[in-house]
Symmetry: C2
Subunit: 153 residues, 2 copies
Amino acid sequence: MTVAVQNYYPEDAAHCYGCGRLNDAGYQLKTEWREGEAITRFTPQAHHTSMPGFVYGGLIASIVDCHAMATAAADAEASAGRPLGAGTVARFVTASLRVDYLRPTPLGPALEIRGQVTERGDRKAIVEVTVSAAGQITARGQVVAVRLPETMR
Amino acid sequence: MTVAVQNYYPEDAAHCYGCGRLNDAGYQLKTEWREGEAITRFTPQAHHTSMPGFVYGGLIASIVDCHAMATAAADAEASAGRPLGAGTVARFVTASLRVDYLRPTPLGPALEIRGQVTERGDRKAIVEVTVSAAGQITARGQVVAVRLPETMR
């Protein structure tokens, strides 16, 4: 059984438009954590288009962003030896986001987003992300995640 | 008087969720072109939040993305000596998007996004972007724009 990382964000940090469980107008992305890898699935709607028939790049960037924060949060818990679901998780925010669009992403199939932490420190983590549609990687992301600063509380 | 770059996207390339004038569900971003610089203004809605009180980073990435494409399109027209508004403009799509979040962006004020092409070639352009809120730069973007490939028509 898997649980969504975002279900364990603290209540005062769960309103994100991309992944906050308390944002009724948002995407409510859910990221599963499986043995060191994070997986998010999301099916864009018809209006999430760039050119007709393809997914809007800004949506892909948004999903990569939220997915990477969840990956960093879950990885931090795992590194600390805490099983996911034992309590709230540390909340990360984005310092830097890079997305390379390798090929157009077809609009229709569910997107599968996978992420892994490739570098971790006390305050930050680097997360590598892939976005796939119908089994083919269409975009790659590299995201620098930092622990939520006090200025954002 | 200024005109919006997106008003001159070809009709079959005007459905983008971020900036397509024919996408009723989207943001309908409008980019003005003024003597070599592009300017977009956009006021996020209350639900476009990351942490309460701050703008969602995925929205910022989305605006940077669409703004950069408009900047590349307007710059290409200017470089070819065609005044904006004389006909449809060349459509660009995003090859690579990088956004550095310098500080949290307050939710409330209109965002001002400025962009300039810093490198241009036959097929691609590099666009540097700033995002400001209440007069302070909160994010910087660097975007690689390429002319719309035939595979996306």
